[in-house]
Symmetry: C2
């Protein structure tokens, strides 16, 4: 069974975190929400309280790690040595690494994905562009095992692409259909 | 200031609840998440714990009430006399009433919106179609002060339409832009 970690920091963009968790669980991915502030729930960027499944330690293993955005949340991710260390380890192990919205700044802080095609929210474009090999203005950028997305409006595509990559395109289609897109 | 209530029952579809709350708050709508189980947080359809701002009583006033879906969550809404009573009162007062995914079954249970254009998730189509005057297979159906949506994949359009209707199209555009759609 595919296993995913979603890193939850104070100020996380609620829609990005919840869409990723919900869509991955619809695809039967074993998905854990890990709290950077321990076992306590986190308050998101728009004041919504989100529960976490476990406290984040930094030594977790999984097939995929997802970094949701939110300006403040992404800053907390990028400043947390445990996060940066996990990202470097996942890159070495060839695991999937995904970051959306402002969260690619944590990849830059970790030095993960240098020289790869990446996107991000325009608010952090400068930081990401100077690090990325090729900054693209697309909803989702996929380069090898690195997946980046632009913002909440790209979150469904981002999450479904993760299902397609980590589980398979057939499962992504099965999950997509009952969600009633356009 | 526009005021909105979002009714949160156990089994709520997390993406629908969070997208509505987040988008309405981005539009500076005073948005309260009201818990049907009191002040406790609710567990959504995919196991995500969502905090609530206040316990739901049933005598609240607002410009807009939003009913998120989720099969089990919608059933709880439709079986709660306080919810049905509030829906009837809001209809009489000419306030906005919005329901997405499976939640239109609560409108049917309340007898609210009879004869109007409505949509819903296909899983509850039979119930809604036999009640609605005109069942439409569209992402969002707007008829007078009643707004219905099909599912999580329609949730952004649904929430932005609510901003457009309750606050104004200019605000909806301002909120939409930085979310980075397509």
């Amino acid at each position: 069974m595919t296993k995913a970690l979603i890193l939850m920091a104070k100020g996380v963009e609620e829609m990005e975190a919840v869409i990723c968790a919900d869509v991955l669980r619809r695809a039967s991915v074993d998905t854990l929400l890990l709290g950077l502030e321990g076992e306590a729930s986190v308050e998101g960027s728009r004041g919504i309280i989100l529960g976490v499944d476990q406290a984040f330690r930094g030594d977790e293993t999984a097939d995929l790690v997802v970094l949701p955005g939110g300006g403040e949340g992404a800053k907390h991710l990028a400043e947390d040595e445990r996060v940066l260390s996990l990202l470097r380890r996942f890159e070495q192990e060839g695991a999937w690494i995904a970051a959306i919205c402002a969260a690619p700044i944590a990849l830059v802080a970790a030095g993960v994905g240098k020289g790869k095609s990446m996107t991000s929210h325009p608010s952090v474009r400068e930081t990401v562009e100077s690090f990325a090999g090729n900054y693209v203005e697309e909803a989702v950028a996929i380069d090898d095992h690195l997946v980046t997305g632009r913002g909440p409006g790209a979150a469904f595509d981002f999450a479904l692409d993760l299902v397609g990559l980590c589980v398979g395109p057939q499962k992504a289609g099965e999950v997509r259909a009952p969600m009633m897109f356009g």
